[in-house]
């Protein structure tokens, strides 16, 4: 049977990847029949009504799913489709309570017209009570109008869909995790809606282990824990995890949402000197052993609002005292080790390498990366022989955008070992100052002018 997904018309490029990820999580066979970025209506083929309900139950970008009874470019086409394909369904709804609604996207109808349109479905013969609040069944006629149709005086929509309501998505979750009501956030906390979408793309689910190496105040682990995963996080700045040591802490955020059982552990660490146990790549592992995580989710620092630094001394010749001082002081409890600027591209490489080493087979890495909108300054999507690109979703701002990039860890046996060897041999990126190291930061502060 075909089903109609009613998407929210926002974050368009994230919608299909999210539904495809959810199909994997729920084990549902999904076939997309029609989909367009410009329309909130998507027709899919699914094995059953139950599969349809499961598919969207944790979707952030789906508003609802409907059993599709008919569609067409004119209302007469819809009636013809309904009459020819669904008469066997009608008897089921003869006596239940029901209501009809009209959902006009980018358009509207006068109240009288609505009633006329609804009454044109009288041939269905439903004789049950018409109830506006919580009826047994709800039938909806969707209209897809041209943009700006009212001022342009366009009389009819581009097309119609008619279907029976089945279930709504999880669009209440972003409200539950809303940053405005979260006790403890910082300048770069990821908004709840996109954090939840990220968790969906990374296939967070009950029993799975997820890790965020740039955890900050915990937006991603919270979203993953909301979907039942056990989460781990680290950050080079322990203050962001610790907060004010009382209520405003990362742990306090988990507590606020009743998700403490989903918090595995947090620690202060630098990705280039990570304490996470891992094996060198290049072996032929059994798919799990020695690898720890089902998913890695993160929003690494872009070096604009927050610095991009790793452990080490920037210029040992200029500050020769730094290392001896460290040797003398490092055992003090309040010792803060020196940090140096780091290359954004090298960091992306480190994230990919780390993920290849620690993700189980088919585990996913989902991370955010910025890029300029100007084609000449666009940053390429980084690649790794052990990681297969799954999807690239883009959120556009004025002169730059950020992309949510998702990869799948492929089994060792499928890896192109020659490509891996040449990667290992390629040189490290040079440079010392923040601008030399970070092309995005340089472009950002030059206002993306070439």
């Amino acid at each position: 049977m075909d089903y109609l997904i009613r998407f929210s018309q926002s974050h368009e490029t994230f919608r299909l990847p999210e539904i495809e990820a959810l199909a994997l999580i729920e084990g549902v066979e999904l076939e997309v029949i029609s989909y367009s970025l410009d329309s909130p209506f998507c027709v899919v083929h699914l094995p059953s009504e139950d599969a349809a309900k499961r598919l969207i139950r944790r979707s952030i970008l789906v508003m609802s799913i409907h059993e599709l009874w008919g569609s067409g470019v004119t209302l007469d086409d819809v009636h013809a489709a309904v009459r020819s394909t669904t008469p066997h369904l009608w008897p089921r709804y003869l006596s239940c309570s029901f209501k009809f609604t009209l959902d006009s996207y980018q358009g509207s109808r006068a109240a009288d017209d609505k009633i006329t349109i609804i009454n044109s479905f009288a041939y269905l013969g439903f004789a049950g009570l018409i109830v506006m609040r919580r009826p047994d069944e709800e039938f909806t006629l969707f209209e897809d109008w041209e943009f700006n149709s009212t001022p342009l005086g366009i009389p009819d929509p581009k097309c119609y869909f008619f279907g029976r309501y089945l279930a709504t998505g999880a669009r209440d979750l972003p409200k539950k995790l809303d940053l405005k009501k979260r006790r403890y956030i910082s300048t770069t906390s990821m908004d709840a809606e996109l954090a939840l979408v990220t968790a969906n793309l990374a296939l967070a689910a009950p029993g799975k282990l997820m890790y965020d190496p740039f955890v900050g105040t915990g937006s991603f682990p919270i979203a993953c824990a909301q979907f039942g995963a056990l989460t781990f996080g680290s950050d080079i700045d322990g203050r962001s995890i610790r907060g004010d040591d009382r209520k405003k802490t990362l742990r306090g955020n988990f507590d606020q949402y009743g998700l403490l059982s989903g918090l595995g552990g947090t620690f202060t660490a630098d990705l280039t000197n990570s304490p996470i146990r891992r094996n060198a790549l290049g072996g032929d592992g059994d798919g799990v052993k020695g690898r720890l995580f089902d998913g890695i989710v993160c929003d690494p620092p872009y070096g604009v609002r927050e610095g991009l630094r790793v452990l080490g001394v920037r210029d040992p010749e200029k500050s020769p005292w730094a290392i001896p001082k460290g040797i003398e002081m490092y055992k003090q409890p309040d010792f803060i080790p020196p940090r140096k600027p780091y290359s954004f591209l090298a960091m992306l490489d480190d994230i990919l390498q780390f993920s290849a080493q620690t993700l189980v087979d088919n585990g996913r890495l989902s991370f955010w990366m910025p890029t300029a909108n100007d084609e000449d300054q666009e940053m390429p999507v980084p690649m790794h022989p052990y990681l297969e690109l799954v999807s690239v979703c883009t959120q556009v701002f004025n002169k730059w955008s950020r992309r949510l990039i998702t990869y799948r860890r492929i089994p060792d046996a499928q890896v192109d070992q020659d490509a891996f060897k040449s990667r290992e041999e390629s040189a490290k990126h040079p440079g010392k100052t923040v601008d030399e190291l970070n092309p995005f930061r340089r472009a950002y502060f030059n206002k993306f002018e070439t």
Partner: protein, 127 residues
């Protein structure tokens, strides 16, 4: 920090990665706390193959828990043996290390744990 996390952490010093003594880190002056967490069989079955069992036995003994069997349980063992499931659940997911130190058995570096958050930042001469 749950005891499970200790099974994922080794010494951050690069020179130590090659040494077997750098894992697991040894808890010192550890202060433990216990949360009440609902048993999650699915999670434990998923976690089992990722655990380094020898290291977990060491950690368990060092934290004062009863000795674990020499061989790790299988997924079937966990499903049928309720006591084993409960014990592992308590050790891995309910027990938290709140204060103390984690010591590398190879270089002797001590990583401080404060309020359940371990600090793995290294001074410049160890980076």
């Amino acid at each position: 920090m749950k005891v499970l996390t200790l099974n994922f952490l080794t010494c951050a010093v690069k020179m130590c990665k090659a040494s077997n003594d750098s894992f697991p880190l040894h808890p010192k002056d550890a202060e433990l706390a216990k949360d009440d967490v609902e048993i999650n069989l699915q999670l434990l079955v998923n976690v089992l193959p990722r655990i380094d069992w020898t290291a977990l036995r060491t950690t368990s003994t060092e934290l004062g828990f009863p000795e674990l069997p020499e061989q790790p349980p299988t997924a079937e063992d966990l499903t049928s043996d309720e006591k084993m499931l409960q014990d592992l659940h308590t050790l891995l997911l309910e027990t938290q290390m709140i204060e103390g130190k984690l010591v590398c058995g190879h270089c002797g570096h001590e990583y401080a744990v404060r309020e359940g958050i371990a600090n793995f930042l290294l001074p410049s001469h160890l980076v």
